[in-house]
Amino acid sequence: MASEGGKMENEMKRFAQDIDRIVAGEEVQVGDGVSDDYRTTLEFAQKLTGLRDAPSPSFQAQLKAILLQRLGEGVTSEGKGGWLKRLVPKSLVWRAVATTAVVVILIAVGAVWYWGVPGAPPPAPTLTPPPSPHHPSVIPQPDLELEATTEKTTYLPGETIEIELTFISMTDKPITISPFPPEIEIILPELPEGEDVVEEFDAGSGEVELKRGGEVTLTLVWDQRDSRGQQVAPGYYNPNIDVNDIHIDGKDIGGMGVCAGVLIQFPQGAMEKTIELDRPQTVNGLTITLERIEMSATAVKFYAFTIPPDYQPPEADISPYDLPYLEDMYPVHASYTVDGITKDARSADFGIRGDGITLEWANPYGPLDPVPSDARELIFTIPRFGDWEGPWVFRVPLE
């Protein structure tokens, strides 16, 4: 067994090397001494590279023309990116930002020379709309949409969760859905792989015809139990409703899915209070101050502030829309532990305030699980911030 395990491990390592050569366009010959499984897997990887989608030449050319035109209009040299160029970059985190800002000026100069077009302000950024209370989903066939709704958003443990799954015709002509009801699974992405299918509904043998704009609704019930029959822990869940092997007018359109979102509350209720901390902590030369923790029935939010060494703030107010790139590139992940149970606080939203940077773990798209009302201690941990290794650990008694 040990040798089999070792062989598999070697094949895994070899696969990583072989697959990179395949992706780079090399023809990889598999010699002797590998399992059939390995050989066929690698052959299939080779096939996958042949199935890659390539952009059409016309699209490639059109987009290039648009980009060069925008470049000529000075999109990168003025407006949105301006505040970053005003940063005085001495620390590791900020140095390259200003370096690239200089590069951008050069790009703009080159582009104006190239196109001879005077600079123009970029279009105003648009705000990403919040998610709707319903959960529409465009499915494989544009003739049909799925929608999943729940009666309420917060449930107590043990309460039955009814999910209304509606099939909506989006076409002018009548369509027939079969089989009806189709095979449906409720999958919880929050659970470990292999344990995430919590409900399965077999397909029926009937069919349903929808007229123009017509709809039909199924009620699915999830009893809050996982695949092993255990009540899931309190917190946020996003039940994915997967509809499998569905046919429209006899044509197999494969699978489709939609997502709902619910909060399973603590039976004892959630802690609802705000704790003002203003507690600084310095690790490896960087001080982060945990300013505040807001706890409500539906979420916990963390607010912190830092002034990285040698960081100088921008001179003027900046648009919050300038910040997401920094958050994407240098995510400041955090976690919080309540009485021994650790949860992911995900990455912070950045903001600029006074001389420093605000950090908020309060994403409206994915609220952090609330804190139970009888919790005794909360530990908030930031493992690293940009180039600075942490961790910054804040212990907060709650009693």
């Binding site: 987009l63 970053l84 790009i107 190239y114 494989p140 590139m329």
Partner: protein
């Protein structure tokens, strides 16, 4: 032109055009894997490059290669797409086909059938494995780059990739046997 060199030397429109030629097909291919629909992939690819153009001042060659930076924008664009519209990773078989000018019509028909099947098989994988397959075969990233991007260990990426390709292989085999 290496990624880092490309990022540092992008001083003219010509240089930007060179970057575009080098990386655009990989971004497009990655997005195609993720959304399974060529026209939507074109829209999102356009958005990615416009964002990249606007945000180039924030690119830091010392922190990430140009391809990693660009793919980071692409990843978030796809995530935003699903988040704002609440769409699941679904597939549109009618729009999935992307014709290539380099092969015969018959070859292209057969390849499109395989692409459609690939989309179906891909959709059955766990979300993270779909992402790894897309970053590997679409964006052509190394396991190390994928690991950095997804916050996984390199060996973990290798294991998941191997497992995902095997699952796809088995799904494909079942489809061919049933044809």
């Amino acid at each position: 032109l290496s990624n880092a060199e490309a990022g540092r030397n992008c001083r003219t429109a010509e240089a930007f055009a060179e970057l575009y030629e080098q990386f655009m097909p990989r971004v497009f291919s990655y997005i195609c894997y993720r959304v399974g629909e060529a026209h939507l992939a074109e829209d999102l690819t356009s958005d990615v490059f416009l964002k990249a153009l606007e945000g180039f001042s924030r690119y830091r060659p010392d922190r990430a290669s140009f391809s990693t930076w660009l793919l980071s924008i692409a990843r978030h664009k796809v995530i935003d797409h699903y988040r704002t519209s609440d769409k699941r990773r679904t597939i549109n078989l009618e729009k999935a086909a992307v014709m290539s000018s380099e092969s015969t019509f018959e070859e292209e028909i057969a390849r499109n059938e395989e692409r459609k099947k690939l989309r179906l098989c891909l959709a059955t994988l766990p979300a993270q494995e779909q992402e790894i397959i897309s970053l590997k075969f679409g964006a052509e990233l190394t396991n190390r780059q994928i690991a950095q991007m997804l916050g996984l260990s390199e060996s973990n990426v290798g294991t998941k990739l191997y497992r995902a390709v095997r699952t796809l292989r088995d799904g494909f085999r079942g489809w061919q046997d049933g044809k």
